[in-house]
């Protein structure tokens, strides 16, 4: 039982009315519930963003298709990108961080529970605001318009002159609002990790998930804020007659690009670092060995955080920077591949000599390793700026970043779902459905995103609502669309698994995976107060020490 209720004989405890239950959820400040709210809202936006992707893929299935008009298509890719980055990836990762960080450090809750709730609702409101644009963004084209400026809203396309009406303002405002929510969560995570660790948990003894979320939160503080600043400037341009990006008044369109990508590049590391965190928890447990090279994993992540702040203009290789600037950003971009690549070796080193168990979380982790390797290598290709003068703005780069986000981030997330769902709900997810999910998604993913590199090499630019026949792109696009539908099917299997297992899944005990961090020492789901007594730890794997008192980690650290 999750509460210490005392039953008074002779009385009947009534089931709580659903309104009450709903009220509890809406007003909660408990990090576990807020974590689940983040995850559920991310799943909702994942479904919506996925439908937008399918619309894009149907339109591009063959040349000169007429499934949607160019205006609708342009809104689809804008909304798909914006939704997936800001209302799926960020929230789901904040959700897992919220849920797991206090548990892993032996704390009662996050440092600021009310700020936590406020940040979640800001984030969710941002998502609703973005989608309200379909109803409220009236422009010259008629009633109701979502933004259609691309998820970067490059200047001067985002200016009043080229985006009349309010559609792009919904883009700006929804991201500003949810951006402030992200900053609140990041501050909360940092304060929690630095101030609420249980006795004995020195900084060098924190689980890697905690370390990596600390680094991620620090990056959020300095990476999200440039975007907020740029968006405030855009609003000043659009509403107060400012000239920040007004090229007619001597303003610079390139300045917007710099500001956007100073946010945009660290942002993708903000998204991937928590996924590294998941891998660093899951792979050791299913290889039955500790992570190989904990100090270097920490050091490499901190290194990535710093170096990633210096690579942003590799998104701007085609805008006409001089050869010295292009060379500099080539160098830094290739350099950031070193600490990133090292991590792959460390994970393989963890598996090496272990006894690997191929449960669903591990299947997704191995998929992650394979795909992240490829994604990193196509990244190195584009780091070479002359090569990028061909590859940039084409379907090659679309394939690359989906390889990272779907093949890397989403695979790691699926692993995290299968691994921690038992802790959150007290039930195991079905292994059978999990394997169906994995194989279907793997096939669909590779069918789509392996093939997608090729139209890029054959000259197909991105963000086009249709294309000419005879360029050799038709068949490839058709195959890509098929793969998209297979992935959609796999997602349905996953959502079904989540729902069915909630009611019918096998009961998980405290520790179904025989793991080693503090969250597995309490019940599944945990009591609202997390720990009955404040734990104290003496090593990086406190439960290993308890299970193996003859060979504790504390002897080797």
């Amino acid at each position: 039982m999750s509460s210490n209720a005392i039953t008074i004989p002779g009385t009947q405890i009534q089931a709580r009315p659903w309104v009450d239950e709903l009220h509890q959820w809406v007003t909660t400040v408990d990090h576990k519930r807020l974590g689940i709210l983040y995850i559920l809202s991310a799943l909702l936006f994942l479904a919506i963003g996925g439908v937008e992707a399918l619309i894009i893929r149907i339109q591009l299935m063959h040349s000169h298709n007429n499934f949607v008009s160019p205006e609708v298509f342009n809104r689809m890719f804008t909304m798909h990108g914006t939704t997936m980055i800001f209302f799926v990836a960020m929230p789901v990762l904040f959700g897992f961080a919220n849920y797991l960080v206090p548990l892993m450090i032996g704390a009662r809750d996050m440092a600021f529970p009310r700020l936590n709730a406020f940040s979640f609702w800001l984030s969710f409101l941002g998502g609703l605001l973005l989608y309200f644009s379909f109803l409220g963004g009236s422009g010259l084209y008629g009633a109701g318009n979502a933004p259609d400026v691309g998820w970067w809203s490059y200047a001067p396309l985002g200016a009043r002159a080229f985006s009349p009406g309010h559609s792009s303002d919904y883009w700006t405002l929804s991201l500003l609002v949810s951006g402030f929510g992200s900053i609140g969560t990041a501050i909360n995570i940092i304060a929690t990790i630095l101030c609420l660790r249980c006795p004995g948990m020195k900084i060098s003894r924190m689980p890697l998930l905690v370390w990596l979320n600390l680094v991620m939160a620090g990056m959020v503080l300095i990476a999200i804020t440039p975007l907020s600043a740029a968006q405030i400037m855009l609003l000043i341009d659009r509403y107060l007659g400012g000239h920040f990006f007004d090229t007619q008044a001597g303003g610079s369109a390139v300045l917007w690009m710099h500001f956007f990508w100073i946010f945009g590049h660290p942002e993708v590391y903000i998204l991937i670092i928590p996924c590294f965190a998941f891998m660093s928890e899951i792979i050791p447990v299913f290889s039955r060995k500790p992570i190989f090279g904990y100090p270097v994993m920490v050091g490499a992540t901190v290194c990535i955080a710093f170096v990633s702040m210096s690579v942003w203009a590799h998104h701007m290789f085609t805008i006409g920077m001089n050869s010295y600037a292009n060379s500099f950003f080539t160098l830094t971009t290739m350099a950031v591949g070193v600490p990133t690549g090292i991590k792959i070796f460390n994970w393989i080193g963890t598996m090496w000599g272990g006894k690997i168990q191929f449960k669903t979380p591990m299947l997704f982790s191995i998929g992650f390793l394979f795909q992240f390797l490829i994604a990193g290598l196509t990244g190195i290709m584009m780091a070479s700026s002359p090569f990028d003068w061909q590859l940039s703005l084409s379907y090659f780069v679309v394939a690359h970043f989906h390889y990272v986000i779907v093949g890397g981030i989403l695979f790691a997330l699926f692993g995290a779902f299968y691994y921690w769902y038992p802790k959150m709900t007290g039930r195991m997810l079905s292994e059978r459905l999990g394997k169906w999910h994995f194989w279907l998604f793997l096939i669909g993913f590779h069918l789509t995103f392996d093939v997608m590199h090729i139209p890029g090499l054959l000259g197909m630019p991105r963000r086009i609502y249709t294309y000419e026949p005879g360029r050799g792109w038709d068949t490839l696009n058709f195959i890509i669309t098929i793969g998209a539908f297979i992935q959609a099917l796999a997602i349905l299997v996953f959502l079904a698994n989540l729902a069915i297992s909630y009611f019918k899944g096998a009961r998980a005990g405290n520790d179904p995976w025989d793991a080693w961090t503090l969250e597995w020492s309490i019940s599944s789901p945990p009591p609202v107060y997390n720990f009955a007594t404040v734990p104290t730890v003496e090593s990086r794997r406190p439960l290993w020490d308890l299970k193996h008192p003859e060979d504790p980690d504390s002897r080797y650290e």
Binding site: S287, I380, D450, L457
Partner: protein
């Protein structure tokens, strides 16, 4: 039924994917049958495109080797270190790390980065800092929503959407240098077989050059999302032999043909708002918002490649541009059928 371990199935699946991927790459990289050249970045016809293609192959080889090595390690560990049922209850040796190994796999990638960077920097400078020789053809390309304006300042020519440049003999190069400007939003000039892409950004002039060594028509299109009809801002670059190029220049320099049979159409053109946007040299029409129409009939396509330059397409385009390119900034002038036919007739005299 053949029962295999999950891990082996995985491994086979990955191998199959690899083979499938390679096959598709080989198949797709063969040029498709079409009269003009394709848009394959590995079929370069000009020095910058060739330097890029050569560098790209070098990068691909190196990343390919890295992939093979790391994948082999991953596959081996997945197969070799599978947990077996008999192992239940016993944990493997708990290894925390190894300084030598970690040092090795840090230093080797750093060396690879140094090599790749040096190879890249050379090509960056060779392409971007190439000096412009005296005999180069100069073109000013101005990006518009959703068409290309081409001006040849030294030759006194203005045209739109279809670029003609001379073929360049490697022993006596006659490259073309383009200055890239924009009249509105950001665009990008991308003709893959001639050069890497460079953006056209307002208030930020850029420069690109190419020296095509084969004649023919090279295709491309705008690569930076510029608005609704970004997809139909196509490029057609005709690389001409020296005589053909000279003939083309002469033709473009002439004033507009004055055909007596087209006076009615010309009157419609000049009394409706057409001349506010379009220019026809030698007449009163000198608008700059739309393409120069002086030699419209010398172009194979209209609406920046959105349609072939035929009588029917031209008529449809003038009658209602959104039938061909919805979102185009050219308004439908709501001409009567008689006026429409007259204007089309006039357009067809502008050779």
């Amino acid at each position: 039924m053949l029962r295999m371990k999950s891990s082996t199935v995985r491994f086979l699946a990955q191998m199959t994917l690899l083979l499938f991927w390679s096959a598709i790459t080989v198949w797709a990289s063969e040029p498709k049958g079409s009269p003009s050249h394709g848009t394959n970045i590995f079929a370069p016809a000009s020095t910058p495109a060739k330097s890029i293609a050569d560098l790209s192959v070098f990068v691909l080889v190196i990343t390919g080797i890295i992939f093979v090595v790391v994948f082999a390690l991953l596959a081996y560990s997945v197969v070799r270190f599978r947990g077996r049922a008999m192992d239940a209850g016993r944990e493997p040796a708990q290894v925390y790390g190894s300084t030598q190994i970690e040092l090795a796999w840090t230093i080797i990638p750093i060396l690879i980065v140094v090599v790749l960077f040096l190879a890249t920097a050379r090509v960056i400078h060779a392409i971007q800092d190439a000096p412009e020789p005296a005999g180069a053809v100069q073109v000013t390309a101005i990006g518009h929503q959703y068409w290309w304006e081409f001006r040849y300042p030294r030759l006194g020519i203005v045209t739109a959407n279809e670029l003609h440049i001379p073929v360049s003999d490697p022993s006596h190069p006659t490259p073309t240098f383009l200055q890239l400007l924009s009249a509105d939003t950001d665009h990008s000039f991308w003709v893959p077989e001639l050069a890497g892409k460079t953006d056209l950004i307002p208030n930020h002039p850029n420069r690109i050059w190419m020296d095509p060594q084969r004649t023919g028509v090279f295709l491309g299109q705008c690569a930076q999302y510029c608005g609704t009809q970004h997809a139909k801002m196509l490029l057609r670059v005709s690389v001409d032999g020296p005589e053909d190029f000279a003939a083309w220049v002469r033709g473009q320099k002439r004033l507009a043909v004055e055909d007596a049979g087209a006076i009615a159409g010309r009157r419609v053109f000049e009394s409706n708002a057409c001349m506010n946007c379009h220019a026809v040299t030698g007449t009163a029409a000198d608008g700059r918002f739309g393409p120069d129409l002086t030699h419209l009939m010398s172009r194979a396509t209209i609406a920046a490649g959105a349609a072939q330059n035929t009588h029917d397409n031209l008529r449809l385009w003038i009658q209602d541009p959104s039938a061909i390119k919805p979102g185009s900034l050219m308004p439908a002038m709501k001409l009567s059928d008689a006026d429409l036919d007259a204007v089309v007739n006039y357009m067809e005299t502008l050779r």
